[in-house]
Symmetry: D2
Subunit: 337 residues, 4 copies
């Protein structure tokens, strides 16, 4: 079986394919035959060694994937061979708030998803909603879990509240979809009429073109009787505009778009934060419990993720190049055929 491996900091040149024997599960582990994976901005940062966590040389990259359980080790009770599962990005973060002891993450310090067979702990996989294909399921572990965590960790939004989400990246699309399920009014920012149209199709109540007004928080105020949005999910910045868009006693969930030093996120005046009168919450993916919760919502509403394009497993480098070029709408999927 084949796996991609990474020599971090060399970009695509650092990506190699190696052959391995099919793995055996240890106690508490499962072996998953991968059927689909997914790539995104985070993985580009990992390739560039521009990610805020250490990358183990030779690691299998990729933190999103879905497949079929083909073997289970001793003491495994949560899944069985044949089960369709998706992996959780932080295999030890099962529930509750993020804690340092659960920081191990797929695709950086521990082997990730760009492989034909993955060995995972039984706690580190969750069942796939029945109506989803493997490719659709592979779209969930990073962006959907992040969006769910961002929307719910400060308490689920109330029906009728206004949720503002920034841009049409994968986190923002899931935020839009989940916020509509929760009965929120959703405002999305974007930069093109074409994307605006697609956002409206997905349920956006209002779309703001942030290129028309760099101070687009004014538009948010205009659309909310001056109150602002009760929740802002900020996965692209600028954070200053998010803080100027949020309602008093509201919350900005901050999803670390700035991770790349090259993006040069603008610093924020503490006065802007004080003036917002809100809570600013850092969000970094989420737990197994978040994933199970969102799967329940996805199942109940037969929601489907937006997929941009599918690349075969042997064309992962091409998929990375496509991601780097930007401009897509939805997740970039890797298929094992």
């Amino acid at each position: 079986m084949k796996s991609y491996h990474l020599d971090p900091g060399r970009g695509l040149a650092g990506l190699t394919v190696q052959d391995h024997a099919e793995p055996e599960p240890g106690r508490g582990q499962v072996v998953v035959r991968m059927r689909a994976g997914a790539l995104g901005f985070r993985d580009l940062l990992v390739l560039a060694d521009d990610y805020p966590l250490p990358i183990r040389p030779g690691v299998v990259p990729g933190c999103e994937g879905a497949g079929e359980v083909v073997a289970v080790g001793e003491d495994v009770s949560r899944v069985k061979p044949g089960d369709r599962v998706a992996a959780t990005v932080f295999p030890r973060w099962l529930d509750g708030p993020f804690r340092r002891e659960n920081a191990a993450q797929l695709g950086t310090m521990i082997d990730g998803m760009l492989t034909e067979y993955a060995v995972l702990s039984e706690d580190g996989v969750v069942p796939i909603p029945e109506h989803l294909s493997f490719q659709e399921a592979a779209a969930l572990p990073l962006a959907a879990v992040t969006a769910w965590n961002a929307l719910t960790s400060g308490g689920a939004p109330l029906a009728g509240e206004t949720v503002l989400t920034l841009g049409s990246g994968a986190v923002s699309l899931f935020t839009l979809q989940f916020a509509k399920l929760a009965g929120a009014r959703v405002i999305v920012t974007t930069s093109s009429a074409a994307k605006a149209a697609r956002l409206r199709e997905l349920g956006a109540d209002e779309v703001i073109d942030y290129r028309e007004n760099p101070e687009w928080s004014e538009d948010v105020r205009g659309l909310t009787d001056g109150v602002g949005a009760h929740r802002v999910i900020d996965a692209t910045g600028p954070l200053e505009q998010s803080l100027k868009s949020v309602a008093p006693s509201g919350e900005v969930a901050f999803v670390g778009y700035w991770l790349s030093g090259t993006k040069g996120a603008r610093p924020v005046d503490p006065a802007t934060f004080f003036g917002a009168g809100a809570v600013l919450r850092r969000i970094a993916t989420g737990s197994r419990a978040h994933f199970l919760e969102l799967n329940r919502a996805v199942t109940a509403h037969r929601l489907r993720p937006v997929i941009d394009r599918v690349f075969p497993f042997d064309r992962v480098p091409g998929a990375f190049a496509y991601c780097e070029a930007g401009g897509g709408f939805g997740k970039v999927i890797i298929s094992h055929g």
Copy 2:
């Protein structure tokens, strides 16, 4: 102007109409020309002096109503003449949890809504959603606020969670409507095929006929893979079945149907509560903040309350008799024409 007044404990015989001068607002107060009121089970208990709070002899009964501000006192800033408003049942419970210092309630210790002109504090009224008539707005202050409080005080339900609500009383109908807005899957219990059909029209995903199986918690388990409902809103009992229906770490919101001693609510074995593994939360109406929140949801979704029947103001006794007979579906409204 005319008001109904109550000599408690005498039933309808204790209800009289008196003539008064049109009232003047004091500092911080508003005068509302009532356009609609509402009656329900709670008001029958008050008439019978079978309510757990003391009733001031001669009080104006009724705790639900909507109308138009016709005069405002000194220092009033929240409303102005001409505003369409509904009254809050606890005029001093503005926000946060219920506290004893805010226990004054319309229609028991302080004058209520069965009057042509009511004097209320400016904090004790909230604006009416634009798309609602006065009659519809009068349906909200008691049952809708209770349902909203019951659904949200332990945190809003997550999209995809299961909400169980009991019966087709007004609190249950609003719970159904609000839970659907929040993306929940909703199970409702009822006792007739006709009501079941109407509940489904309102969005119920599942309807259980509790007469077919007095141990209907078994049906709830059957509909939820054995997990139970994440939230149970219990406004009719029996509480034991609610506790047997709730998921581990879920919540039963208990809305005091037992208020009438005549209903003879069955006692609950502490072991049943322990076995439920859940939180049991007492709900008694809600605050101004709850009312403002639900109005925002009602407005955003252009939701309309279910109205059963409308009686003119001079036929309040007939409305009471109609309530007492039972069997309706939706709120009983009093109209000032």
Copy 3:
């Protein structure tokens, strides 16, 4: 090495000692050389097969213990040989609310602590506070974790709030100690002057003799200007008195004293619950996160648990008999010498 094993339902007659080879840890597991264990009411129920969970025949009983890590399996990163650790009662309940998938419990379905060497998952052990002996550490896993969960799951009590705890069982003693750390005023019920004196030594602000007034909730009201206790931790009942003792919008944490059918807990009228105007929360031990939190508090305040009596490992049956006789004050400890 020796272990006790249980044939449930036969009481002490069902308890046997067997010899085993020293165990090896699997992947993710540790072997702990037990240095101390503890017994209590819960273990008597297990012996009697009067516990609400199924008991695996032949299981090693006991859910509380502390010892030294002597071997670690593959992939273990949280502890190392030589570490002093205590076991968590629910080895898979790591954080967040209780969930069914984490229901496995030491000493009922999976082997427990009455052994010389235990094999545990690395997640299922926590470090012991430095200032505690193994015997003191063995006092914590059940009662202290339960008390901590009971006091904090609805939010930590505020300094100045009143906490009522019932009786001088182990959960109540820890509740008293933890509530004092949190700055609460603590009221304890008891039945003897001797125990009252010891409770006061531990910090109780008020002690109520529940034998003098079976309606002792009246005494609680008397001591709180009629308000009631903001938090009631009820590990002995009667629940009705707890509900009559709690402040409006307060919380009763209910710890399942009724588990023994023989105790005949009195049923509760739903009206009593409604009148309490509070939240009733079911508590069943707690998570690894609770244990880590309480260890931090125990460490910071150099708090020591109350130990009643210590029995050597070969006198476990005598320890059970001592527990059954009742009347102690503090934990009954098993020492490995």
Copy 4:
């Protein structure tokens, strides 16, 4: 009776004393004969018109004060003549989160406390703890309420958690005192050995001299095994150091020291916030409910605020000058003799 009045933007030159008739209470109002007031940094900003809220010309300045109720208007039930009370800074913010409709604040838009007789709503006063003098009670409304809100709005700190508070301003001193009541370990930053000694007397477990290391977050990490402080109460900045001091999933409560543009608070890189992995919560004073809660804690523990210096009512300008000079330790009090 005499009141100070303010022509904002002119500093002390804008402060005048005027004579008035003794006021009468309107409906729902009380007249308080002021016995003590307090001044601080906030009032200097108001004088300089450097406060982020509009100042009504001619307003009575000062937002902290305590006195005796001498008259009550119609419908007043919460207090009676003779009661010792303190005023709440936001008279309409009774409970729950801050909302725009409750933004009216003493001493800026509505008349404040630097007067001999104040007219206040009955909701806008709270009883004074019995063991406190009027001067001590006047120290509470701004700084103590802020500290309480900052410590408890994200949930009370758990016993054993680490609280970091910055400097020896009034908010920080109350934070230290309240956090110790809650069983926290408290770290305080300061700049002088003399203040360090006083902070230790008040209970500080650790004191860091921020002048010795501008990157004093390193010292916080050093004192917490690298974890950081679970709660940071930041009333002086720099916010960047607070964010670098907080534990993952912890909270920084941000109290707006930057209010003066002249202080030039350093902007914060969003990456620093992301790296903190925490919640950042804006705190602006607090509600009536916060004040009642802290009074309960102050009463239970017979806690006393730290008073720096007392000025007579006719020497308010001198008190302002003293505040401006800085360097004090505790509240500056105005006494009516």
